[in-house]
Amino acid sequence: MQHKANMPEIGVGFKPEHYADIAAAQPDLSFFEVHAENYMGDGGPPHAMLRALDENYDLSVHGVGLSIGSDGPLDRPHLMRLKKLVDRYQPKLVSEHLAWSSHDTERNMLFLNDLLPIPYTQRTLNRVVDHVNEIQDTLGRTLLMENPSTYVAFSDTEMDEISFITEMQKRTDCGLILDVNNVHISANNQKLDAYEYLDRFPLHAVGEIHLAGHATDTDDDDAPLLIDSHDRQVAPPVWDLYRYVVKKAGRRPTLIEWDNDVPDWPTLYAEANAARDAMLHVTGESADHALA
């Protein structure tokens, strides 16, 4: 089925194990998002699948390896790999994270394979702004930056996350991914009000919304600590936040992320359809009406 031009833009994180189902069913979605680093090999099935998806859908390239929050310089060879991928596919969206994951030691580069938190200070803001500018200049296009999920706070932080993101966005004119699951997680973990956070978020710059599932652990005081696990369905309070955002911001491309314990295709597709229904419900359109 081809995507209807007037339907909300809904996408899912692409997993190769779903490729046969997608190729057979041609589901009614507008885009697929891939982790950039998984498509930095020279050829083979990863690129064959991406080329095939590109024929019928928009693509979104989501980087997880640029370590924009590193105090040290950007990994130039890695940025050039991202540029090669972006030049090759001309995806509709290109995004990265407000986090760090690489570190130069005296002897070599260390990649930590996780999205690690940064303190919100003038120094880290200047670094992030420089890095986002460098990436946007190199790619020749707007980068969407995603709000993080965090488990710790920093004693040396100088501003709150919204102030940091707002300032970063102003100084770079970057776009933003609003990951609503991350908002829910961080609000719980940092003892903040998620709705207040959304009220202050620079929604005008949001080019994509992320939705995902999370797990619950406990912190040092045995209070609930939420973990950004991407391994299950979107939780009810996250759907509530999503509807709140759509009500305030209107339609935005929305993605379901499910990266671990990946379900069968119908289960993932059902989550995507739930996001579409939620968006249409909030904006006062029924699916039938939007199809007409």
């Binding site: 050829g43 997880v64 710790v152 004693s155």
Partner: protein, 260 residues
């Protein structure tokens, strides 16, 4: 507690991630400002589990052979000693076979390193550049009198792995979830690996081909290959080797080029 240099903080953070016995960095707190070692532990756990999971997905036959618990212990040891040095996690595990070959506890299973070598090359083959299928015309283009001087252009996804064990058989059995019953562990095998189309394919060949295959891959001519191959294995049969390589799609074409 103003940090003069966030770079130093990131050095401390990175170090503490890999040393569970050391304290969490001092500037990490909970929202009330108290030390929060358990919260930092989430990052420790995320990093280590993600590295172990990555290795488990690259080396599934190794995991089947030694069991999940032992495999994850090996993977943890590897991740600690060889953390990733690049964001290209599709290629993480490039030293895993070498590590298994030198790490004492892994040597209870003497062929494990060779199976890991095959599995890593399967990944490399999967991501390798696409290449054309064999061009039969290329051999017709070489005049009969010059055939001795012809060389092989291999498909970019071609790799091979030699073992003093029947590594291809062991890998296939482990992958299929079968036991190693009645495997002749005395039999050496070379595993050919290639992805001529969508799927990565493998084939076992006789170990007597080792010197000849090494010569062909190094870019020696067919005549020199026969010479090198037969010096090391008197029964070396180039025709047989080429037949195996062609059947797997490992050869792009025959070509006449100046000697290296």
């Amino acid at each position: 507690m103003r940090s003069p240099n966030f770079r130093n903080d990131q050095t401390d953070f990175a170090r503490a991630l890999f040393h569970a016995d050391e304290a969490a960095p001092g500037n990490l707190v909970d929202p009330a400002g108290s030390a929060a070692p358990k919260r930092f532990g989430v990052y420790r756990n995320n990093v280590m589990v993600s590295l172990i999971d990555n290795l488990a997905s690259t080396f599934p036959a190794c995991q089947r052979l030694v069991g999940e618990e032992f495999f994850r212990a090996l993977a943890r040891e590897y991740a600690f000693n060889f953390p990733p040095s690049s964001p290209l996690m599709i290629y993480y595990g490039d030293q895993f076979a070498q590590f298994l070959g030198s790490f004492k506890p892994a040597q209870q299973v003497p062929f494990l390193a060779d199976i890991a070598d095959i599995e890593y090359k399967l990944i490399k083959s999967y991501h390798a550049a696409d290449g054309p299928a064999f061009d039969p015309q290329s051999i017709a283009n070489v005049p009969q009198k010059d055939l001795d001087r012809a060389k092989i252009k291999f498909h970019p996804s071609f790799f091979w792995s030699a073992s003093r064990f029947p590594a291809h058989t062991i890998h296939s059995r482990a992958k299929a979830g079968e036991t190693l019953e009645k495997v002749d562990f005395e039999q050496a095998q070379i595993t050919l690996i290639c992805r001529p189309e969508w799927d990565v394919k493998t084939a076992p060949i006789d170990p007597q081909h080792k010197a000849g295959l090494t010569a062909l891959v190094a870019g020696f001519s067919l005549a020199t290959t026969v010479d090198i191959g037969q010096r090391s294995a008197p029964n070396f049969d180039l025709q047989d080797l080429l037949t195996n390589l062609l059947a797997l799609g490992a050869i792009e074409r025959f070509e006449l080029k100046k000697d290296i």
